[in-house]
Symmetry: C2
Subunit: 349 residues, 2 copies
DNA sequence: TTGATTAACGAAAACGATTTCGAAATGAAC
DNA sequence: GTTCATTTCGAAATCGTTTTCGTTAATCAA
């Protein structure tokens, strides 16, 4: 009933615990005969080393912590999948925690993970997080910390991101290339860096194309649980405020889908009357009618890359080398679908 | 840099490790004065008990394992969220593993978790799992194991499920009540119990209403990654095979959405020509056009209930009481939307 | 025969906390 | 002054491994 220990194996074979331990780990100073004996008995008794004891000695837990704002989310669950898959390949287990977009919870969870003595931490910040002491605490302990997607630029650690600004630029440029003359933007809340960058990309694309930037065309939404509703609301408001808008770049697919639904209900034709480009490429976006042109955000790859970087840093700590931080920028892609028109033939000068 | 230990606190205060430990845990045989001193120093040094050492002594890890077939999945990610939230409330951490619907992986992961000495395991089985030795291994060690959603009826442990059969019955009955005369069924693969039960519910509803059961109206799909495509394919095939079908009960929303898409493309009117009822109530189902009538499957609640049961059993183990197994059946609900007609006025006898 | 080398194993000290069992000191009671 | 109880603390064992450093016995060279 109780798990088998080294001592029990040792007693049964009338040898010492030391020898058993060494035999199982193929130390060169144990004879082949005893090694065979030990290994066989361990097998039949179904011996499994007690992880606590091993960790206590070796000061490694072979466990990492993962904190994300929201689990039920296509993008984030893809990230989780990428992380878990990669971690398992390297023999690491993943403890998952959800911050619920709350700074307080995030802070508490970091403490929990540190107490658990995880070997490293992966985190995507809560929207509300503006204070970074809990993060620098981790780094001060020489424990690797890698941030992904929602990051804090000011914290000195590795980061895995996409170039939100560039992606937003591409999205907006696509609207321009397909003939849109007056382009609105539904942006996210003020805090997460992503919203800011996407907004900046939108703005830059306009200016680079000699189109005026009009702040009244920028609508803010919190992108929380009811982002679908927010998309509908913003769309309704836009129809009242600006009849001349013929294109919208929307911060995230869920909001875009809300907007599409509203436009469908009001008889506004997409893309004939208004073109729409979203962000993230959720599965849903390919299914809705009209299907949504959007920016593909590689969640699985991001998870994979984040773990790989963390792994590298954990190895560096193990070898007592200094940790080398890295910024990894993943590629995004515009996925052309029905909610935007065909690209106009460009005139050749 | 290195984490603070009891010994360091003891040395600084010139008292023994024992006293420090006791002080922090409010043992009655330590004076208030030393307790105050110890607690204050622990606070300022930011002392965190070494989880390994504690676990090694107490033989508790305050950690549970969670194995699911697929993380990127609306239903399962909701379950994860429920589990993680509830676990955190009780001071437990969750190690998450994904079996990828593979029996082999599932088996290996159970071993991993046992080695890690988790206090309990939550699992939703892979479709391919037909051999239960890895599960009985867990139970043989007196380690609580709770299965949810995709379960093995034969294994003696607690289970949290919905009544798939009844839910399917309700779904089919709804189609009948709204006037459908010839009802098809897109079912899942043969193995997971859920598919079988949903099929049986469908069949029973037909028979109870004196409608013939026609096996040629039952289409099978694997419900894997391409279930959307499978939905389209099946819909196309159905249109060829049976022009007279006016209702379909579909195993899962993703397939249903594929079917709706296909029908939309082929100009088949929903619900006028064909009514559709899905299963799961993914968010997508409320957004697609026409929106999908479906069975709401409470993922978050299932996760919550599963952890609560596991917690109960972990307490029982702790108190050396025998484990009491329980079958928990959660309520499902029919969510009426646009893909099915209004219920006919029933004649009163 | 002596000294050096090698092969094979074990004793014991960690790792950091918890807990049992005493011990010392103080005070109270007689 | 003796006895007894109470308060306050610590020594030491323990959890299960890992790893260092011996120790023994055998082998070999000269």
């Amino acid at each position: 009933m109780k798990p088998v220990t080294l001592k029990e194996i040792a007693d049964q074979l009338n040898i010492s615990v030391t020898t058993v331990s060494k035999a199982l780990k193929d130390y060169p100073d144990i004879s082949k005969k005893t090694k065979a004996l030990v290994k066989e008995l361990a097998q039949t008794l179904n011996y499994k080393p007690n992880a606590f004891a091993v960790n206590l000695r070796t000061k490694e837990s072979k466990t990492i912590g993962l904190i994300i704002p929201e689990i039920v989310h296509h993008f984030f669950s893809s990230v989780i999948k990428g992380i878990v898959a990669q971690a398992e390949k390297k023999g690491y287990l993943v403890i998952i925690l959800q911050s619920n977009e709350s700074y307080e919870l995030e802070k508490k969870q970091i403490q929990l993970l540190l107490r658990q003595r995880v070997d490293g931490i992966l985190i995507s910040l809560a929207n509300g997080t503006a204070d970074y002491n809990h993060l620098t605490d981790v780094l001060a302990q020489d424990k690797p910390l890698v941030m992904f997607d929602k990051i804090a630029k000011l914290v000195k650690c590795s980061k895995v991101i996409i170039d939100d600004r560039k992606a937003a630029y591409v999205a907006t440029q696509h609207l321009i290339d397909t003939g849109c003359k007056r382009i609105a933007h539904f942006r996210g809340a003020l805090l997460p860096q992503n919203s800011i960058d996407r907004f900046l990309g939108y703005k830059k694309a306009l200016l680079d194309n000699n189109m005026p930037y009009d702040p009244s065309l920028v609508y803010i939404c919190q992108c929380g649980d009811q982002s679908f509703e927010e998309g509908k609301m913003n769309a309704r408001q836009l129809l009242k405020d600006h009849k001349d808008v013929d294109g919208i770049f929307i911060n995230t697919d869920m909001v875009a889908i809300g907007a599409i639904t509203e436009f469908n209900e009001q008889g506004v034709k997409i893309p004939e009357d208004i073109s729409i480009v979203g962000f993230s490429n959720w599965f849903m976006s390919s299914v809705i009618s009209p299907s949504l042109t959007t920016i593909d955000q590689p969640g699985y790859e991001m998870g994979k890359a984040a773990f790989k970087q963390l792994y590298k840093e954990m190895q560096q700590v193990k070898n007592k080398e200094p940790i080398v931080y890295k910024d990894i920028v993943l590629k995004t892609e515009l996925v052309k679908r029905q909610s935007s028109k065909e690209v106009l033939h460009k005139t050749i000068h």
